[in-house]
């Protein structure tokens, strides 16, 4: 993380030196850098959602959660774990769990449960299926529990703009599920592949706050 931040500072210093960045008279380098990074730190932390009752400890390290023959739209979810300043967070741990296509959680094993460690790049990715509707919940969702040294733990949930409960208008209908705490958690789904074997993909960035 510090490496990336210093790299951007170096670029800014070069810009100041070369005249590519002009600042008001009386500003020194420190003021210019401070002003620049204050503007840059406008990323909102990912909204908190409750963890719910079906978290399970010791989920395996696996990015492929589906197995051949699993029912449901094949789904790839990917993103980065970053700070509110946009810096990659090294050492993060991302735990995900979800219901199967039929809306049931595996309580006896670890189907559709994974622990991911993005490493220095901050990138995470997992392969799954579109979760079904759990009986006590309105919207399809994937649970996240994200931890990283020096950052507040994040419990949140990913939702899908294609979910039929949003009637094609998640801006208007996302509140149908009272547990969706922010519209920003409802993400578009991109379809690729062949019409007879489609693959959905979703991007979901995880923005953490300092502890």
């Amino acid at each position: 993380m510090p490496q990336r931040e210093w790299s951007r500072r170096d670029v800014l210093r070069q810009c100041l030196t070369a005249g590519a960045l002009v600042v008001p008279a009386g500003w020194g380098e420190a003021e210019a850098l401070h002003a620049w990074f204050e503007v840059q730190k406008n990323l909102a932390p990912t909204a908190h959602c409750e963890m719910g009752p079906f978290y399970k400890t010791h989920a395996p390290a696996q990015s492929m959660m589906r197995t051949p023959g699993d029912r449901g739209l094949h789904l790839t979810v990917a993103g980065r774990v970053i700070s509110v300043h946009g810096d990659v967070i090294d050492g993060a741990r991302v735990e995900v769990w979800q219901a199967d296509d039929g809306g049931l959680y595996d309580l006896d094993g670890f189907k559709y449960r994974a622990t991911l460690e993005p490493g220095a790049s901050g990138d995470y990715k997992f392969e799954s299926v579109m979760p079904g509707h759990y009986p006590a919940r309105v919207a399809r969702h994937v649970h996240y529990f994200v931890t990283a040294p020096g950052y507040q733990p994040l419990t949140t949930q990913l939702y899908f703009a294609t979910d039929e409960v949003f009637e094609g208008n998640p801006d208007r209908h996302y509140t149908k599920d009272p547990l969706i705490t922010s519209r920003s958690l409802v993400r578009p789904v991109t379809l690729a592949g062949r019409p007879d074997a489609p693959l959905g993909s979703v991007e979901f960035e995880l923005v953490l706050e300092k502890a």
Partner: protein, 300 residues
């Protein structure tokens, strides 16, 4: 199978339920701030107290059972004599930035512990509202809280599937246990044995001092444990369960705490109960939305 001997219908949902010591009555906290004091022997009448104007999170009593202690979602802690027309003495405490998710009162009513949506725990003196913050915290929403009778030990369970035993007087953690799956119910017996159950469908008993697990009992799938209550003599344990596939169907069974043998299975009409309490030695009361239902239990 047992059918309810009596049912009491209340104005709003029951949010918490305990046995009133030294009496056959139970105290039921309600969603609108009322607390109903009721005994199945009294039929369809109850004493309705109004210690709060917000949802009741937890109820307790003084050691002699004459004074109600209650805490509500607006941060009020009230002590109310259990008598018609009684006026509560209240203090308001700071519940912190996250919404409260669970609360419990100590057995003699002097302390209240409240746990929040982000895992924070706060302990308050129920008379003064003075706060002590334990060194213990969880990282996810609190699922269940319970005080051990006759001590300052608290059991707390969060959605991260952890169980912590800690001392509310010192803040010191005694033991933390990885439960694998989340717990929904924690109840101490009169002698301090902890019963814990939840999503894993397993009831575990922990010894009173070291909190080592001493026995397990597993319910058949898909029944998860959502509520527990000990009989006053600590011999029986009522277990409320719910179907994990639907989260709609459920029931209650009463087991012998020593042998885990089923003493009776209660027919709740397929409804789950999130609150259980014994009324005297041989009656089990369950909370079902706005209703309290009582069943007699015949011991073998």
């Amino acid at each position: 199978m047992r059918t309810p001997m009596v049912t009491l219908t209340l104005p709003v949902d029951v949010t918490s339920l305990i046995a009133v010591p030294r009496s056959p009555r139970v105290a039921a906290g309600l969603a609108d701030g009322h607390v109903a004091i009721w005994s199945p022997n009294e039929g369809a009448t109850s004493l309705l107290l109004r210690p709060h104007t917000a949802r009741v999170l937890a109820v307790g009593t003084s050691a002699d059972g004459t004074e109600l202690v209650s805490v509500a979602g607006d941060g009020t802690i009230a002590r109310t004599p259990i008598a018609p027309g009684a006026t509560p003495a209240s203090v308001t405490v700071d519940l912190g930035p996250a919404p409260p998710r669970a609360a419990a009162c100590s057995a003699e009513g002097s302390r209240v512990v409240i746990g929040g949506e982000k895992g924070e725990l706060r302990v308050f003196d129920s008379r003064t509202g003075a706060r002590t913050t334990p060194a213990v915290a969880h990282r996810a929403e609190l699922m269940a809280l319970a005080f051990q009778p006759g001590s300052s030990v608290v059991a707390s369970a969060s959605a991260e599937a952890d169980l912590s035993l800690w001392d509310a007087a010192s803040g010191r953690e005694i033991r933390r246990i990885d439960c694998g799956l989340s717990l929904w119910a924690l109840e101490f017996s009169p002698d301090g044995t902890l019963a814990a159950g939840g999503v894993a469908r397993r009831l575990t008993l922990y010894a009173a001092k070291a909190f080592e697990p001493t026995s397990n009992m597993t319910l058949e799938a898909p029944n998860m444990i959502v509520s527990l209550a000990w009989s006053p003599d600590g011999r029986l344990l009522a277990i409320g369960h719910i179907d994990s596939d639907t989260l709609r169907k459920g029931g209650v069974r009463v087991v012998d705490a020593s042998s885990r043998a089923v003493v009776t299975t209660i027919d709740t009409g397929g409804s789950p109960t999130f609150g259980l309490a014994f009324s005297g030695a041989d009656t089990v009361v369950g909370a079902f939305g706005r209703e309290l239902r009582g069943w007699s239990v015949t011991r073998g």
